[in-house]
């Protein structure tokens, strides 16, 4: 089968990752998959406000997802809407299992993710970017989180759907977030119809895609400090 952009079924779009793009935030990262570009900034751990929401046992994770007005062909009305509130929550619960929140009692960790360019798979790009930004902020984590969408296009399981594929009649979209070391899925959504056999195949493809993204994240994180490896402890 040929996909609209000529990719193989297990091939993701072009990947690019960069860490430390903002100097004022505690941690930041950019993640690009094809035309979808996500930027993430992390603040914290800091004091939790309002004070009565703080947890004496662990940190509170807050996520804010936003799409820029110019990220889509037709101008999006700026500000939070139903969709972005839902995605903020989805991203929060996808990242939570990887972060050791017990390290930071009575604190808040704030994650801000923005989409500068949207071409399907924005929530997945956001999760990948946010995980890098969290690591860049020096937050204690059990594992990284990598994320990609899988799905069913023209009756065939594929990985990393583009907007073009998503718009085909009868397409199923399955966003997956995955912790590569623990081999655990932290996000699994399903939009459309799929039979169990295809579902298993799609998940397998998605996990393979996540592993590729993990390698890109790892390289980006190490690149930022490439010259720092000497004399950190010494003198």
């Amino acid at each position: 089968m040929k996909r609209p952009d000529g990719r193989k079924i297990d091939e993701t779009r072009e990947l690019e990752a960069k860490v430390g793009i903002f100097s004022k935030a505690d941690g930041s990262a950019m993640f690009r998959i094809g035309k979808t570009t996500a930027i993430a900034g992390v603040y914290g751990p800091t004091n939790m406000y309002p004070r009565w929401l703080e947890d004496p046992e662990k940190a509170v994770l807050k996520c804010y997802y936003d799409m820029y007005s110019f990220s889509v062909p037709e101008r999006k009305r700026p500000g939070p809407d139903r969709r972005s509130i839902e995605l903020s929550r989805v991203i929060k619960y996808a990242l939570m299992p990887a972060i050791v929140l017990k390290e930071y009692p009575r604190s808040a960790i704030k994650v801000f993710v923005s989409i500068t360019q949207a071409d399907a798979g924005t929530r997945c790009a956001c999760i990948s970017a946010a995980a890098m930004a969290l690591a860049d902020a020096g937050i204690v984590m059990k594992d990284m989180v990598s994320s990609v969408a899988a799905g069913l296009v023209n009756g065939e399981p594929v990985v990393d759907l583009s907007k073009e594929e998503e718009d085909i009649e009868g397409t199923t979209d399955i966003p997956i977030a995955y912790m590569p070391r623990l081999q655990k899925i932290t996000l699994l959504q399903l939009d459309g119809k799929i039979n169990p056999k295809h579902f298993r195949e799609a998940i397998k493809l998605g996990i393979e895609g996540c592993k590729k993204i993990y390698d890109v994240q790892k390289r980006a994180l190490k690149e930022k400090y490439a010259t720092d490896s000497i004399g950190i402890d010494g003198e």
């Binding site: 505690d26 941690g27 914290g44 751990p45 800091t46 004091n47 004496p56 990887a98 050791v100 930071y104 009692p105 009575r106 604190s107 690591a135 860049d136 902020a137 020096g138 937050i139 204690v140 984590m141 059990k142 594992d143 990284m144 912790m179 590569p180 070391r181 623990l182 994240q217 790892k218 994180l221 190490k222 400090y225 490439a226 010259t227 720092d228 490896s229 000497i230 004399g231 950190i232 402890d233 003198e235």
Partner: protein
């Protein structure tokens, strides 16, 4: 016999496997799962005997008992102050640990001792298991700083700024005739002639930027000499 999978002084990311085998011991920045040891933060691997630790490259200051830190008063309460020492939460400094005389707390205004925005040199008395931090000012040299300015750098770069037995910071002090107090939390207080304060700030920012390079002392010396001439 276990084996080390990552060389020393290499950068690891959270969740990356460092060693395999029960004869290695996980220390700060690492954890054990099964027989393997993993990093739990972004940092540099350091192996001492068979103890593995990860020195963080980023992140906020983690208070340790006995550290001398510089803090800024954020709030004045009825029985103490909230102090920002660059850690995750603002920290409480009770009256009893800060003022020698007896204070009628209900009657007096604590801002006559320390007010919002004041800079203090203080010591970490204790860090509890649930990460409640206690501060004290009952020790030699712990006081409120008057005038001057505060510079913030990453707490991971403080050892480089101080140098061996304070050689680096001593050099800056001698060359610029400024008073400098360096806290373990990366907050630095500087006082002296204004031009010299700016000079010190420039030098400190340079040290922070180039902390990982060798021959830093020479670079600082050169920079200081240039400043004296102009």
């Amino acid at each position: 016999m276990g084996n080390l999978l990552v060389e020393e002084k290499k950068i690891v990311i959270p969740g990356e496997e460092i060693a395999d085998g029960m004869d290695f011991l996980p220390s700060v920045g690492t954890f054990r799962e099964g027989e393997k040891i993993f990093a739990n933060r972004l940092g540099v691997v350091s192996v001492y005997n068979r103890v593995i630790k990860v020195i963080p490259l980023a992140g906020k200051y983690r208070p340790v008992q006995g550290d001398i830190v510089i803090g800024m008063i954020m709030d004045v309460g009825f029985s103490g102050w909230s102090v920002n020492i660059g850690s995750e939460n603002t920290v409480n400094l009770p009256v009893g640990e800060a003022v020698r005389e007896r204070v009628e707390m209900l009657k007096s205004d604590l801002s006559k001792f320390f007010d919002i925005g004041d800079i203090i040199v203080t010591k970490i008395l204790n860090v509890t298991k649930s990460r409640i931090i206690q501060l004290t000012m009952r020790d030699f040299g712990l006081k409120k700083m008057r005038g001057g300015r505060m510079i913030k750098i990453s707490p991971n770069k403080v050892p480089r700024l101080i140098g061996k037995n304070g050689s680096m910071v001593g050099m800056i002090k001698d060359a610029t005739k400024c008073e400098i107090a360096v806290g373990q939390n990366g907050y630095i207080w500087v006082d002296g002639p204004v031009e010299q304060q700016i000079k010190v700030e420039e030098v400190i920012k340079m040290i922070e930027e180039k902390a990982h390079t060798s021959g830093l002392t020479d670079k600082v010396k050169e920079m200081l000499e240039k400043g004296v001439q102009t």
